[in-house]
Amino acid sequence: MTALAVHDLDVDLGGRPVLRGVRLHVDPGELVGLIGPNGAGKTTLLRAVLGLIRIRSGQVLVDGVPSRPGRCAIGYVPQRHEFAWEFPISVQEAVLSGRTGRIGLLRRPGAADWRATAEAIDRVRLGDLRRRPVAELSGGQRQRVLVARALASQPALLLLDEPFTGLDMPTQELLGELFTGLAAEGTPLLMTTHDLIGAMDACSRLVLLNRRVIAEGKPAELRDPQLWMRTFGISERSPLLRLVGVDTAAVAAASSEGTG
């Protein structure tokens, strides 16, 4: 079954249209990258999927059921600055907090909660640091804590908001491997990112978004520079096209041939 299916989603924020007619799906085993410029509506789309903002029309189905906060079918990994890292708790307590919704009001965490926490910590390979205060972690370790916290609720789908931002290349690579590993083990992921190279490399599928879905497909299929130019609002001379390996020289040659 499709882990996430978004049908014809329209979202307005403050009376202005932000998303229009967005169709999107994430299947088991997939790591899908959501790519677009600032203001394209990436984070809004994630929030709509989480059920945190009202949608104007359309439908968001997670594991076949309409999304609503508290269903716990979705694990959310926010941007790192959203988390209060100076809070005096250890890695495992931070991860356990991901199960708060599951444990329920007025109950204490039980054996199942601690087991899920330990598994989540092992999956992101933070076992050696489980007792360390979160304030003392590096950026990459913090990102892994957030992923583990989301995994602790045993979600059917992980949503990641710009997990690579502000991290150095080796750390990005490690995280990219972690994400592809999670996808292969059966937790599908949808992530927004500005790291185009990383996304081309790690993602099984990319969605180019700018208020609506401009294109989607395997990284190797997105060869048409027009798609990238429309998504990011850039000219055919933009270095971005070279960065993602879209052959601009050929296009330029073709267009000059056409005019000449």
Partner: protein
Amino acid sequence: MPITEFIADLFNPDLAFLPKALLIAVMSSVVCGVVGCYVVLRGMAFIGDAVAHAVFPGLAVAFVLQGSLVLGGAVAGIVTALLIAVFAQRRRIKEDSLIGVFFVAAFALGIVIISQAPGYAGSLQQFLFGSITGIPDRDLYTVGFTGLAILAVLFLLHKELVAVSLDRESARSVGLPVFWLDIVLYVLVTLAVVISLQTIGNILVLALLITPAAAARLLTDRLGVMMLLAPVIGGGSALVGLYLSWSYDLPVGGTVVLVATGVFLLAWVFAPRHGLLARRRREPAGEPHRESDGTPESQVTPVSAEVDERPMG
């Protein structure tokens, strides 16, 4: 005055107000210490200050009507806290500005009300700076039960309050009632402030919320330990402060706060990991956030190797 004499005074039936004041001061400091942990960790110090102002009109009304000060203060504080929470939902004006508007307005209202009562100047000073005399017996029970109720709610909602404090958006996404948890916390802060007003006074009560919790934060990196240390520091400061105040005829609120401040300064210098001395000692060893932990993240791969391994495109 030697301690033995202080203890003798505590059991002197002619000085019956003294043990009552001590009990109230210690109980309210303990409760404020625990609640204060959240206030400090969430950066809500301004809200604590504001609540202390907001309860003032309630106290004034209760004073004029000869009613229970604790009840009057609680009602006024909670009403104002709810107003803030509701107004803050529309993000046009930021929360701290709203607090600035409403809580100071409440304080102003309190001053206007109390100026209408006879014996205005003396009672005003009592409200603002605290007093150990004239505490009715029923206040002892009110403070005791309210304190227990506050601690019970904090205990029962601990993991929810932690989750919301860590990251509101994620808390919302797992279905926690973030708005209501905020309200609960505001109300608990208000109640903790109100039960402490009697001995410490309106101006100084903020110190009971912030100082012990801040000192405890310097001493530990574990939330559970912090929430035990803060009430111990608060209760201890109340005890020592009242003793000094009684011995040297000093104002009780000010003395208690100064003792707590002393503890905070000691912690700031001598705390095992975050203290001034510990940081000095560690400095040559390098920046604390970049401790090597054996994970490959801290090693930067040479650029050429990176390119070799991962051809672009």
